[in-house]
């Protein structure tokens, strides 16, 4: 296997030296789930406005986006600019891969039009600005309005209500003795830490030493495990389920609630119409926590044409262009101009997003968070759900990662 990795690195190196780029070419990496690619139109518009700069935009599959990004940096073949998330920032800074763009942002006309706070949220722990926000989402609870009405249930506001509603929504509709609808579609695979976070980190628990292993922290994880093992309100496949499975099951009516963001709302409405609605995630153990889904762009320190790269990424975060960009990704624009009069999502989903903003959080801005997201959380959550380890052991593993 390591042979393969080294070979991949070697190929990366070769590719880096073999392709000599013209002075004014910007290589840009991005990831879109949506196959309808709007990039070519934005690229054409940019190139028309900036003759002499050529944009080579490449759509990299999400599942291996950061694997590819890190290896390309080490192999000396990094893109000039790319879409990046906050959890990757500490590592990229540590690698010396990012170009500080604070001065450029200050001198930029579009700065005043950016939504408040976004630049503060994306500032690095060393005080520099490396990221320019391009879109955002906040996670909220999707629920089936029609199923709640059918059973005479209220939209859950707290974890206790949530559990009660989820148990009532889990039912056998065709009389074969097997549940056909499950109360909640839990994401046990990669990316599901957002679900877990809403149920656990809300309890005044964070990643500092001893916090997750406190009674409140363990109780939170235990509560999630019990929903699966005892109350059986998650589908049996929950431990392995990822985005595709969770949204697929919800659209197909196999689950009555799930947590995701506005990016999937148009697909949900297409499948379910008015039957689907949204509300902030429930309040658990006295607190409220949901995940802020950030996306920015950055210029890489290895870029030869940093001015051209900056022109391109600031173009994408400028009113109008940012709207086009978010039309494609289905997320929310970062500019004030585009946010007013935003009609691309149904109002109830925008409302749920706005209502969730006050308690939306990012994961800790430290290098360990990448491992938490990619391996430590999924592996331990899956083991806890399948009864291989206890909730306390799971929280201990996470505590060990952040506080060795």
């Amino acid at each position: 296997m390591s042979k393969l990795i080294s070979a991949a690195l070697a190929v990366g190196l070769l590719a880096g030296t073999a392709t000599a780029y013209a002075d004014e070419t910007v290589r840009f990496w991005y990831h879109f789930d949506n196959a309808d690619n709007p990039m070519s139109e934005l690229v054409a518009k940019f190139e028309k406005a900036n003759p002499g700069i050529k944009i080579e935009a490449e759509n990299i599959p999400w599942n291996s986006y950061y694997d590819n990004l890190y290896t390309s940096i080490v192999a000396g073949n990094a893109p000039d600019a790319a879409m990046v998330k906050m959890f990757a920032q500490p590592r990229l800074v540590e690698m010396g891969a990012l170009e500080p763009i604070g001065d450029r942002i200050d001198a930029w006309d579009g700065k005043a039009d950016l939504q408040d706070n976004l630049l503060d949220l994306t500032k690095a722990s060393d005080g520099n600005s490396y990221y320019l926000p391009i879109q955002y989402v906040v996670l909220y609870l999707y629920y089936r309005q029609d199923m709640l009405e059918e059973l005479g249930l209220e939209v859950p506001k707290t974890c206790d209500e949530f559990r009660d509603v989820a148990m009532k929504l889990t039912r056998d509709t065709d009389g074969d003795g097997q549940p056909d609808v499950y109360g909640f579609g839990f994401r046990g695979g990669k990316g599901g830490h957002d679900h877990w976070g809403s149920f656990v980190l809300s309890r005044n628990v964070d990643f500092s030493a001893g916090s997750l292993t406190s009674d409140a922290g363990v109780a939170g994880t235990q509560w999630v495990v019990d929903l699966f093992e005892k109350d059986k309100v998650f589908p049996p496949s929950a431990p392995n389920d990822g985005f595709k499975e969770v949204t697929g099951a919800f659209k197909a009516g196999k689950t009555a609630m799930t947590i995701h963001h506005i990016g999937s709302s148009n697909g949900m409405v297409e499948a379910l119409g008015d039957a689907v609605s949204a509300t902030p995630v429930p309040e658990c153990g006295g607190g409220h926590w949901t995940s802020f889904g950030d996306e920015s762009t950055a210029v890489f320190s290895s870029a030869e044409n940093k001015d051209a790269a900056w022109k391109w990424i600031s173009f994408l975060s400028t009113a109008g262009n940012n709207m086009e960009f978010n039309k494609a990704t289905g997320q929310l624009p970062v500019t004030k101009t585009d946010s007013e009069g935003w009609t691309l999502h149904e109002k109830r989903f925008v409302d749920a997003t706005v209502q969730s903003l006050p308690f939306a959080n990012l994961l800790p801005n430290v290098p360990e968070t990448s491992d938490f997201v990619n391996t430590v959380w999924p592996v331990n959550m899956q083991r806890a759900l399948t009864g291989e380890i206890t909730a306390e052991q799971m929280n201990t593993e996470i505590d060990k990662l952040y506080n060795p």
Partner: protein, 305 residues
């Protein structure tokens, strides 16, 4: 002194030299390429395994000796992965072999459309692993999967089984997938071996009164033993190293339920970016596999001879 008048004397010497050098000269491009893309990365991996090397800390490349290896032997996940790797090889290879053998014996019979059947049997082997993995993920799906539907209707199970999400069944579910993918290789190899056995042996045996079982035991099996030894060796190496199907079907989950050593090394290096530790896992596994291959070749080689 070499002059224009002298080549008659010199040529034989030079021709001899040229004859000696030419094969090496012709071989050298292939050797150089092999060195560059096979041996260099291998040595690099071995070298990295002796260092603390985390990709996002590129400046930190400290020699730590055998620390990574010692850490691996203390690592719970290493032993879990090793146990799975042993089950992975020990179940998959015999299952593929038996299925392949049965298929080859069937395909060696006379029946209409035989060439078509021989062509069709190769399909699982010819499909890309990722396609096979995605296909079987749907077959095993707990909500829509055809396997659950089938077994529910036949009354074999009472409730849908989440085959890939249950740690007790996930590894075996993937083994079944891999068996399905790999048995045509055995079938085709064994079929070729079967066809090299002269018909006259069977005629002579049946004249002497040997039944089908005795013919199989004393003629067929010895006739294909050479092919079997080679095929088993190749498949063992391939199966041991194959991670694509596992990676696509479960990514190693749930928990560590479908981690094998090569997959663990891959995840450590590629996802956690810990190339030092990942390489040491890969080196350890290579040594183990090498040991297995040597033992196998000694024993199998002896019994074939």
């Amino acid at each position: 002194m070499l002059t224009m008048n002298e080549p008659a004397d010199r040529l034989p010497g030079r021709a001899a030299l040229a004859r000696k050098v030419l094969p090496y000269a012709l071989l050298s491009p292939a050797v150089l390429v092999t060195l560059a893309i096979v041996f260099f990365p291998m040595i690099q991996a071995a070298w990295m395994s002796l260092h603390d090397y985390i990709l996002w800390k590129p400046k930190d490349f400290t020699f730590v000796g055998l620390k990574n290896f010692a850490a691996a032997l203390q690592d719970e996940v290493f032993w879990i992965s090793l146990r799975h790797t042993i089950i992975w090889i020990a179940v998959t290879i015999p299952a593929q072999l038996l299925l392949g053998l049965a298929t080859a014996l069937l395909l060696n019979q006379q029946f209409p459309w035989r060439p078509l059947a021989r062509a069709l049997i190769i399909i699982p082997w010819a499909l890309p692993s990722v396609v096979i993995a995605l296909m079987w993920v749907w077959i095993y799906d707990a909500n829509y999967g055809i396997l659950n539907e089938f077994m529910l209707r036949l009354g074999l199970i009472k409730a849908s089984v989440p085959w890939l999400a249950d740690p007790d069944t996930a590894l075996y579910a993937i083994i079944l997938t891999l068996t399905w993918q790999g048995f045509p290789f055995f079938a085709v190899m064994i079929l070729a071996g079967l066809q090299s056995i002269p018909k006259s042996y069977y005629e002579a045996a049946s004249l002497d009164g040997a039944g089908p079982m005795r013919q199989f035991w004393h003629i067929t099996l010895p006739g294909i033993s050479g092919v079997l030894v080679t095929a088993v060796l190749l498949r063992t190496i391939w199966v041991a190293n194959s991670i694509d199907v596992i990676y696509v079907m479960t990514g190693g989950g749930p928990g560590y339920a479908t981690y094998t050593l090569p997959l663990y090394a891959f995840i450590k290096a590629r996802t956690n970016l810990d190339f030092g530790y990942g390489s040491s896992l890969a080196v350890l596994f290579t040594l183990m596999l090498l040991g297995l291959v040597i033992v196998y070749l000694r024993r199998a080689g002896r019994s074939v001879n």
